[in-house]
Point group: C2
Chain length 322, copies 2
């Protein structure tokens, strides 16, 4: 199979009507794609690596989950800004052994994600490599001035998180132990393999100007909260007793998973005290939990259930840390 | 060095005033970038791999040339559409041994290219990998209806190409033989290491609606012309005697380089007969050469200098071909 044929396989799922609906006027097959944004909108641009050995294992992760998650991870950044995804570019490096069934299943998962998020394939580039490497760029839109950013939290703002934390990490533990076929009705496995970017929540927060700052939890709460606080020039105190931990895991472990587990793609956001009553405890079935407070100074702290305050050290995932 | 520090190094060259000038309102450091297109413009989106072993060699290519060329290759796709580049996203995978001097020089070359093409860094993603992998997405703009596409050539249209073909391939041969430091005053080496996307020519062709179809020559004339003809549903006959070959290379070799040499990033375009007089033989110092004609049917042919017609087989570069 040559490059042209690989690109044809990738492009073959494109439906002109769906492309036109999101503003893509020229898709795969030319030097570049043409996209017409809605009048007056700002564009949100983000790119994400998904590479074998770091983000997934060739022999462990079903190819369709690799496809779904590659797009979901990048779309989650659009959700974190409160935007609406429109289209994406796929850069794919494959071994020549993987241009058959693996590619078919990978594209199947990717297309399912694409339809679910209303985010259409606009372009791409392929190359041959011994390892499977994926890079996805997503283009989203948002009305000017509404984008949620990491900077903006003030001391005294309340910190919220969606969903339950540590689910994806727990799912990853299960996948590692698993022999045989992946059961997709396992909730934790599903969360690891097929994360769902919190698009509706992000859009709702942005449209109603409810969050002073926001980001998605991709590397783990402890490190991502530190990033939000650094951008906002505040500190934070997390209430360990308030964390939305996994109910069926022993507590010390469940707290560790909630603080440092990666890959949850939940939203982390801050709300000024006078708007706190507008934040429901659930949004379309998704739990929303107040987990702490932004503080003056720059300390990252957590208050244990016995009332003692400890330093909260970032323990999330960082590919360059030795 | 951790991921945050690598990203900081990458972001440290960003100048807010330059970002604002191209429409980037939020650059590296948040979940995603914010970009405001000019009112009414269409966006051009393109992404390009530049990976070690395929597009460059770690021990042969100067890091600043890797930086320059990674961006130039993607910007060339914007030139091929007749557009103006605005901003780019950098996805970088590096071994931990390359986050020092190599990264500094790579970023130097990338920034020089960025300033030269007025295309600013808006975002990125990094990961660790034993091999150096680069993926660049470029966002450009163009007025609606003006974008040059591969489809559009009609039988009878004249085929043109900019520059001299085979220079980059010849430069690559020189680099392979080279011992010691790269001489950047060597014209052919420069063409291989620091290609210059034909932005001004592309914009001029688009604005004046002079080309019926266009693309850039990145993999080699023979394969790229076939792509343009396939998209346009025409054939082509190339006049071997008209090819802008290298003057100081023996003829059979020079013709092979011109037909099949990759990496030139010149523009290949077709012009309807009644507009041919508007195409000059040079554009701002760049030769423009008529090399053949689009033909009815779908045959790819070339007429040798003795008048005999041969089939033109695509001989360019394809990473998936075995």
């Amino acid at each position: 199979m040559n490059e042209e044929q690989v690109l044809q396989r990738i492009a073959s799922g494109a439906k002109p009507a769906r492309l036109a609906a999101v503003g893509v006027h020229l898709g795969i097959g030319d030097d570049a794609a043409l996209f017409k944004p809605h009048a007056g909108q700002q564009l949100i641009l983000t790119c994400d690596w998904s590479v074998e050995g770091t983000h997934f294992l060739r022999d462990k992760h079903p190819p369709d989950a690799v496809g779904w998650k590659s797009l979901a991870r990048a779309v989650s950044d659009i959700a974190a800004m409160g935007g609406t995804p429109r289209c994406y570019l796929l850069s794919l490096a494959l071994p020549s052994t993987h241009t058959g069934r693996w590619l078919t299943e990978f594209l199947g998962g990717l297309r399912r994600a694409s339809r679910t998020f209303h985010c259409e394939l606009a372009g791409g580039d392929t190359t041959r490599r011994e390892q499977i490497l994926i890079n996805i760029t997503v283009v989203g839109e948002i009305a000017p001035q509404l984008a949620l950013q990491r900077a903006g939290a003030q001391a005294g703002d309340l910190i919220f998180v969606s969903g339950r934390l540590g689910e994806a990490d727990r799912g990853w533990e299960r996948l590692q132990r698993l022999r045989g076929k992946v059961k997709t009705n396992d909730r934790l496995l599903r969360k690891h393999l097929y994360p769902e970017p919190r698009l509706a929540l992000g859009e709702w927060l942005a449209k109603n100007r409810l969050a002073t700052a926001a980001m998605d939890v991709s590397d783990g709460l402890s490190i991502d909260l530190m990033r939000l606080c650094t951008a906002s020039r505040v500190g934070a105190c997390v209430e360990v007793g308030s964390l939305p931990i996994l109910p069926d895991v022993a507590k010390p472990k469940a707290v560790q998973l909630a603080l440092h587990g990666g890959d949850d793609y939940e939203l982390l956001f801050t709300v000024t005290p006078r708007k706190v009553r507008q934040i429901p405890s659930g949004f379309r079935g998704l739990p929303i939990t107040q987990i702490g407070k932004a503080t003056p100074g720059r300390m990252m702290e957590m208050r244990a259930e016995d009332g003692r305050v400890h330093r909260l050290k970032p323990g999330g995932w960082d590919p360059f840390r030795k």
